[in-house]
Amino acid sequence: MGAGLAMNRNMGALGRRSIVLCALALLAGCGSEQQRNGLFEIGRSVTRLVGDAGARSGVLGAENLTATDAQLRRSGRPLIKVTRADLGLGAALSMADNKGSAVIWRSADGNTVTLFNGLLIATRGFGNDLASAKVPSVRAGTGDVLREHYYLGGDEVMRRHAFFCDFRDGGRQALNLLGVTFDTDLVVETCTGDIDSFENRYWFNDQGGILKSVQWASPEIGALVIEYVPRDAGAAPFIQQARGPDGVVVISGSLD
């Protein structure tokens, strides 16, 4: 399995890989658009991989955010800023779909996170994604609440992982959200489960909307810091929010 083994070895050493891949890229050849075959496609994929490895470090898949907080606030459209807690690299995601409670946010390079009333229920395109989730409602003082996450295993079987979570009051906090200060109530969720344990944090504004959160996605992705970008409208920044039929306030989720 000559080609296969050559490939495996290349997975390890990036330096050597680049050389092999550049050679492959030269060999990758050309063809009509639809023709995707053999070494041609490997060459392309792998060149892309190497290019990516240089340009970014696999946050969200997106390039690290270069826009300043002020620029984001002035964008004039609903945005969230998502940062991978372990890498400290972030991206601005724009709204791709809004079904009221469930909102899909998409990064420039096509990865998405899905928030249900502000709670993370899915990621796509990261790899090792959170496929789906059944999340509890965030209420300080409740304990032993069930949270269910679904992950696709290496064997391609979708598996349910249960977590038991406690919510406690984290107190009143002045939250700096991309340069704008808000008064918030912090709720801290502590979860233990069979594959991992984690702590999520939610900062609520006075209307009950989640302005910022730190939510755990999967063992490999770790926690995502999710911040709604307040929008500069004239002088005063504002948070676009709406109250759904279930009484939950959804930030940036206009329910028209």
């Binding site: 080609a3 390890g12 009509s32 639809q34 490997i42 779909d97 899909i104 496929a131 290496g154």
Partner: protein, 682 residues
């Protein structure tokens, strides 16, 4: 831990431990002029199988200066380790080879804590050449090493003297393991102590071996050993496990969101059905869907919509996972189809051949997009049925796509294994291929290669055969055929009836044969059983790779039965007449993982006698195929893989025609789609 034979063991002896299920390991080890390259697969949690190639440099045995040997091993763990009792394994080494390396063993291993293992075993054959205890099961019949080989030497198993061996391992740190063993292999041939003349390549001063193994990462470990009191040995192992991909799930572009229809009460106009009366509606909808799907690597062949249902034929050159492609099509249909269309019938097409119909209700897609465990819920409400014979009434054909001409110029690689002068030969160069598809199902295609570098054609091993040289003449094609016309065919794929698939291919079918090939396959969409038949008239092509022919021709064909087992194993039995005119049957067993990894073995027995067949006695081999998508984490249909035959002879040879139906059609049938369904929302 892989030993010098590339099987689970201590240093040069086996142990009763096993690799994780599905593990595929390649081990290269070297000491005293002996280089062993072994491919080992953990076939089942308790069964380990290996294929090995050994070079004994300067052994001067059997008329060869460097002696090369191929061997197969198999072992079975009969007892798992318990608190008080060790794991016990029984194994056969080189059990259908020429027999120089033949041995059998029963071995037990007990672990103490998570750092120490102790192994003790009893070996026969080669593993009983030092300090034996006598022959418990009678004398071992003499073998004739180096003759035709290839038949199971079962009359020798566990016969003759038996000798004990032992080993101990200590995992000092997570990365470093110390090993010591007592070997019962005297290396008689390698020390010049057998009746037939050999040159001594090993000075065996001791039965004890010592060494260290260092684990570089989860895939690679290396070892250095002091062997038999006289020489240094090295060992490198690369192991991959299909269950541990670099990335789980897809890391490509996220799918498009499902688009909801407006409420019927709020916007009654959007739900009206008049649009369906418009004669252009199919063409308009197809164009809109094409715009959505084409950037994602999915081509819409045709579309036929009525007021409340749509049938759409789609194909992909990108998604190795059929469910993922179907999910993307469903999502895009919600964005494109008018609100009144409630039923989506998606017909995946392979080579212009409709494989099945997957039916989903739009309301279900809308309701389940964000549901926890939405994959299982969607599967429960998805229908799988036979592919319709032709596109629906008034279907619009994708005029952006048909007639379609595609071409590519890229590299190719050819390998040749086990030539004693150079066991791994390779050739690379440029391949120009083109295909023209005037209408779905009718494909004219061909390819030409030009060598840039290679040493396959420089081999001087002139093959001789008692059969028509249908495959042993490969070397002449390698030598004389450059540039070569690999293929030039016209192929027509069609559906002769419900659950039936057909193919007719005419032209230069492969590098060595041209002719006519016709195939028919029966497989209901939900069935695990398929039956097929293939009939070919083939004429041997000229060695120069041009348009000419030689004067050998043959009618060859098979009836085939295929069975897809629930545990991922696939069996295929072909019975018929082979290229050299011999009559017989081929049995192939493959284990296919849900992510597309495939490891299998096959054997063909025909009416050609072992002596007429020549070295190897009958055609057999193993095959490995690993999807590139597994490495990259992004959708990709290309696979890395190869078929390894210990030796290629003329008996039991099959025509290598492109577009065989079973593997293609099966990808979109219910059993396979269910296995892949975890990615339907990805």
């Amino acid at each position: 831990m892989m030993n010098f034979y590339g099987v689970t063991g201590t240093i040069d002896t086996p142990s009763a431990l096993s690799q994780p299920d599905g593990q595929l390991s390649t081990t290269v080890s070297h000491f005293a002029g002996m280089t062993r390259t072994t491919l080992t697969f953990q076939i089942l949690p308790r069964v380990e199988g290996s294929f090995r190639y050994i070079k004994s440099a300067d052994l001067n045995f059997g008329g060869f200066r460097d002696y090369y040997d191929r061997s197969f091993d198999i072992s079975l763990r009969i007892f798992n380790e318990t608190r008080y009792f060790p794991a016990v394994k029984i194994g056969l080494q080189d059990f259908i080879g020429t027999g120089l390396w033949s041995a059998e063993y029963i071995v037990a291993t007990k672990s103490f804590g998570d750092r120490v293992t102790v192994t003790g075993g009893l070996g026969w054959g080669r593993l009983a050449t030092a300090n034996d205890l006598g022959s418990p099961f009678g004398a071992r019949p003499a073998s004739v090493v180096g003759k035709t080989g290839g038949t199971a030497n079962y009359n020798q198993w566990f016969r003759g003297p038996a000798a004990p061996f032992a080993g101990v391992s200590f995992r000092a740190t997570d990365k470093l393991t110390l090993l010591a063993e007592y070997s019962s292999d005297a290396y008689l041939a390698e020390t010049g102590n057998i009746a037939r003349p050999t040159s001594a390549i090993l000075d065996r001063k001791s039965s004890l071996n010592f060494g260290v193994n260092y684990r570089i990462n989860s895939a690679v470990d290396v070892g250095a050993y002091y062997m038999y009191g006289s020489t240094l040995g090295l060992n490198v192992n690369v192991s991959l496990n299909p269950y541990n991909p670099p990335v789980r799930g897809s890391s490509g572009l996220a799918p498009q969101p499902v688009t909801l229809r407006p409420g019927r009460a709020q916007n009654a106009a959007a739900w009206e059905k008049e649009w369906a009366l418009d004669g252009d509606s199919n063409a308009r909808l197809l164009a809109a869907l094409h715009r959505q799907l084409e950037p994602q690597g999915i081509i819409v062949d045709s579309l036929s919509a009525s007021a409340d249902a749509v049938q759409v034929r789609v194909r992909t050159g990108q998604y190795d996972n059929g469910a993922q492609m179907l999910g993307r099509v469903m999502r895009s249909l919600t964005a494109v189809m008018p609100a009144s269309v409630e039923t989506f019938r998606i017909v995946p097409v392979v080579n212009g051949l409709a494989a099945s119909t997957v039916t989903v209700r739009r309301s279900d897609i809308e309701a389940l997009e964000h549901s926890p465990d939405g994959e299982a819920q969607l599967l429960a409400v998805t229908g799988f049925s036979a592919a319709p014979g032709r596109p629906g009434p008034g279907a619009a054909l994708n005029s952006d796509f048909f007639p379609r001409f595609t071409w590519s110029l890229g590299p190719y690689i050819r390998q040749s294994y086990f030539d004693p002068q150079n066991p791994f030969r390779i050739e690379t160069g440029a391949r120009l291929s083109a295909a023209y598809e005037p209408m779905p199902g009718f494909v004219l295609s061909g390819s030409v290669t030009k060598r840039a570098y290679g040493n396959i054609h420089t081999s001087t091993r002139i093959p001789s055969s008692k059969l028509p040289p249908v495959r042993t003449s490969t070397l002449y094609y390698d030598r004389q055929g450059d540039p070569t016309l690999e293929r030039l065919t016209a192929a027509y794929y069609f559906q002769p009836g419900t659950n039936l698939y057909g193919r007719v291919t005419v032209g230069y079918l492969e590098r060595m044969f041209g002719g006519v090939s016709a195939e028919v396959l029966w497989r209901p969409v939900g069935s695990r059983l398929a039956l097929g038949g293939e009939l070919n008239y083939a004429r041997q092509r000229a060695f120069d790779g041009g348009f000419g022919f030689r004067d050998y021709d043959v009618v060859t064909g098979h009836v085939s039965a295929y069975y897809q087992m629930k545990n991922g194993f696939h069996a295929q039995l072909d019975v018929g007449q082979y290229l050299a005119g011999d009559v017989g049957a081929t049995l192939g067993i493959d284990r296919e993982f849900r992510n597309g990894w495939k490891v299998g073995a096959f054997a063909t027995m025909t009416d050609v006698s072992a002596s007429d067949f020549g070295e190897g006695s009958f055609d057999k081999g193993i095959r490995v195929s690993i999807p590139v998508a597994w490495f990259l984490g992004t959708p990709n249909t290309y696979k890395l893989g190869t078929t390894l035959r210990p030796i290629t002879r003329d008996g039991g040879a099959r025509l290598s025609v492109e577009g065989r139906l079973y593997e293609r059609v099966r990808q979109y049938h219910r059993p396979t789609l269910e296995d892949k369904w975890g990615r339907v929302w990805q």
